[in-house]
């Protein structure tokens, strides 16, 4: 099943060719444009756009904010998403099915509609305020919208399903027999989780978390509408540069900075966290 010449060649060629044509070529074009020198009307090569980005404390703060939101969203999604993903994998089929539907429905909604739902939830006259008032936890309607907390909550709600599905898919491959074995050796559930499940589910967890991170840092509609432009993330800035300001070279340089950050995160998780969490996993090879 290993490298048998032709089979390998063909199987590898299909995705490779597709990606070279539809990904590499366009991105190279965009990269080239990020290096364009506005003074020489785009002909020369210059780091002008990158210098412009990095020398401005405002853009640096936007970058920092973006990465921070991404990290927090990803970490929270692990904490919240894992229990759900795990329980879904272990549930009998009947119960799993309708819960799975609940998880996937948010994915099927158009983003603008989700955001409307949240505006209704978090608004001054919204559901959250009504409930809190009714419970006498607050005495006046609070402003929840256009705050960092609100943005975090909405980003989480948007991307949590990806984490849950990722975990579910990987946990369902862990034979329950292993958990029973661990229990028969007098380990409590927590120890079983830590020593048996966690290492084996690590690929799925890490995979889901990086996905959530990347989606969060690239989002642009949600920060705009829920953040009310008070919280600014890089995705919205790039979007504005491409579509409104039409300054494509600058947009290109910003996206390459974003790209570099995410590549760093991906590389880090693959090299550091995955092996760390997978300690003790024996792969039958």
């Amino acid at each position: 099943m290993h490298k048998s010449g032709l089979r390998f060649g063909v199987t590898a060629a299909i995705p490779l060719v597709f990606l070279m044509v539809f990904l590499v070529a366009p991105i190279v074009l965009v990269f080239r444009s990020s290096l364009s020198d506005p003074a020489a009307s785009g002909a020369g090569v210059s780091l002008f756009q990158y210098i412009r980005f990095f020398s401005d404390s405002y853009y640096l703060s936007v970058l920092a904010d973006t990465v921070l939101f991404g990290l927090i969203t990803a970490l929270l999604s692990i904490v919240i998403g894992f229990p759900i993903g795990y329980s879904l994998a272990r549930l009998p089929p009947k119960q799993r099915r309708w819960r799975l539907l609940l998880v996937i429905i948010p994915l099927s909604l158009s983003l603008v509609v989700i955001v409307f739902g949240w505006l209704v939830l978090l608004g001054r006259g919204g559901l959250l305020n009504d409930v809190l008032l009714w419970l006498s936890l607050i005495d006046r309607p609070q402003r929840f919208l256009f705050t960092r907390g609100a943005l975090l909550a909405v980003l989480l709600q948007e991307f949590l399903p990806f984490m849950i599905l990722s975990v579910m898919s990987v946990v369902s491959q862990i034979d329950p027999v292993l958990e029973h074995a661990s229990a028969s050796l007098r380990a409590d559930r927590y120890t079983t989780f830590r020593k048996v499940i966690l290492p084996m589910a690590a690929p799925g967890i890490v995979s889901g978390a990086t996905l959530v991170f990347i989606l969060a840092v690239s989002s642009f509609i949600t920060p705009e509408i829920i953040g009310g432009n008070k919280i600014q993330m890089l995705g919205s800035t790039i979007y504005a540069q491409v579509l409104t300001v039409l300054d494509w070279p600058f947009a290109a340089s910003m996206s390459f900075v974003l790209l570099a950050i995410t590549l760093l995160v991906v590389a880090l998780t693959n090299r550091v966290f995955k092996p760390l969490l997978s300690v003790g996993v024996n792969r039958a090879n």
Partner: protein, 266 residues
Amino acid sequence: MQISVRDRMMGLAGSILRPFIYLVLTLPAVIVVVTSFTAGTTLNFPPEGFSLRWYRAALSSDVFMPALWMSLKLACLTMVLAVAIGMCASFVLDRCEFRGKALFRTLTLSPLIIPMVVIGLGLLQFMAWIGWTQSLSRLVAGHILITIPYVVRTVSASLVLLDRNLEQAAMNLRARPAKVLLRITIPLLAPAMVASAVFAFVTSFGNITLSIFLGVANRTTLPVAIFTYLEQSYDPALAAISTIVIALTVGILMLVGRLVGMEKVA
């Protein structure tokens, strides 16, 4: 089985936390569904009165219905092709050692990392450059591109945990590689394939940015139709069409569940 205090607390926390999370996940959807039945003209919650007028408006709309159909076709096509191409990549990454493997892996995952606007812009410029214009296939290509990473991620994570002994056993019983693939490997990968197909379908169906950049006249997709409708008329027809989409999604998922038998997991 030993059940410690820690376990009991975690169990309790879990049984409170889980329903709450399900609630939060679905609450926006619930609000939209409830609002769609309003008799009034504004999107308010709770809605005023009860009426199906907005459903009539949405169903008879010559904007939403064709767009819905278009999105469905596009998403199905994308799903099938993305899973096919993605699985090729996953297998190659999991089973073979070759130079540039890490680079290949990064390549397959990179469409996720690059902001959608940049992909859209890049594709637009590139296709204009090679003279490939005004065809729906551009959009299909774009959608496949952005969904391949989901497939590769999910299937790879599953391949890592696949017990190769099962395949070895089959080969020992003199099954040919193709048969092993079909009867052993793929059924074992079925949950991952279904999950990745769902990712792919949903991503393609809900994509706005690429559809704006690479779209074709008179063949708008539903998210773009909703997005542009929203810029003009802000009324409950949006809630109605979204509810229809939710109903469709639930229907498709239940159908898929029955056919593929998601229940057949371990």
